[in-house]
Symmetry: C2
Subunit: 192 residues, 2 copies
DNA sequence: TGTTTCCAATACAGAACGTAGCGGTTATGT
DNA sequence: ACATAACCGCTACGTTCTGTATTGGAAACA
């Protein structure tokens, strides 16, 4: 709330510490944006709300993120989606990725981001984000030598129920079901 | 645009036809609401937009649908989701339901409604709608004597990829994949 | 020292919000 | 035929948010 007020800057100056550059402002605003997103959804990511929540001037908000979509894009950039560790075993790696995805969906930041991207009608941004979310699964299957068509089917079969749970039904992710699906998929791919 | 203007009402009066009661107003507004929803998403369902789109007075809009969520709810009520015909054969009925759902998602009214429900954070309304969407599949499986746990799994496996395609990836529904999934599910349930 | 970068503060016109009240018309019922 | 209720259009009002522009101050850099 007070990070960027005149009082704060004067205080910082007197203490000899430099008032932060652009970096600090973006950090303050984006953390508040994430909290707003989690608490109230994408509709809360407006210049006014960000201003009252952070104390950062409204003009500054407009300068850096002219549209709410820009805020979403910035949020995506600062919260990367790293893959899980790889062992080389197809089934094991898929199970690991499923666990990782389930955790992300359960803790709600990723789920909230998905809901926001659906709401914001930011089509290409949404496609990129979903692509990043599915990429680890594609990578694992590609490394196992699975062809593109089978790969898409397998990824969809494994991930789709999890996404539907998080996005439409707001219920805890169906972990065990996902793992069962992984076993089915792995078995089918092994037989082929 | 002119349905409800004074001119129109005077015209209707002179022609001897009664200016319509509540029924006509709701019809005019809700059809415009559907068009707005399809064209610009849930964010367009505001009192102002509905007013300028229909000519119906802004106060009337507020009277009937105080919040945009009420407009969505009304839209759901006037566009029921009937099931497909039943033959009694499990696989056949599932295929029929998949075709029906694919058509609905391809023609975008249902997909747009889902996106709107995600955007509007109208949780219970969304759950009801998704439930109605999945109900035919549950019915078919119940009629075939499938237990609740297997039923949920089967429905999720069949429907989730379709919903993800329509909701997140904005791509034509994966019909053939869905039918393949139905065959897999039917085979698995038959063996058990 | 001068320049550039970053930000706060203010002002402004425009749009949408939500509420309220008035008046006129149609439908209903005694 | 007459009173009542139900609907709806219209206007007005204060508030909030929007998007843009401008000014001035403080820090960083050369």
């Amino acid at each position: 709330m007070f990070f960027r007020h005149k009082m704060y800057r004067q205080l910082m100056t007197r203490l000899g510490r430099p008032a932060g550059p652009a970096q600090e402002t973006t950090a303050v605003v984006l953390t508040a944006a994430l909290q707003l997103l989690l608490a109230e959804g994408a509709a809360a990511l407006t210049p006014q709300r960000l201003h009252t929540a952070t104390g950062v001037s409204r003009s500054t908000i407009y300068r850096h993120w002219p549209t709410p979509g820009d805020v979403l894009a910035a949020l995506i950039d600062v919260a990367p989606l790293g893959p899980a560790e790889r062992t080389g075993d197809l089934a094991h790696d898929l199970h690991a990725e499923v666990d990782l995805l389930c955790n992300r969906l359960r803790d709600r930041p990723v789920a909230a981001m998905l809901q926001a991207l659906v709401a914001a009608a930011a089509t290409d941004l949404r496609h990129r984000y979903v692509g990043d979310l599915l990429a680890p699964f594609h990578d694992v299957l590609t490394a196992a030598g699975i062809g593109p068509a089978d790969r898409d089917d397998a990824v969809a079969a494994i991930v789709s129920p999890l996404l539907v749970d998080a996005l439409l039904l707001d219920r805890p992710t169906a972990r065990t079901r996902a793992h069962r699906t992984v076993d089915d998929v792995a078995a089918r791919l092994a037989h082929a």
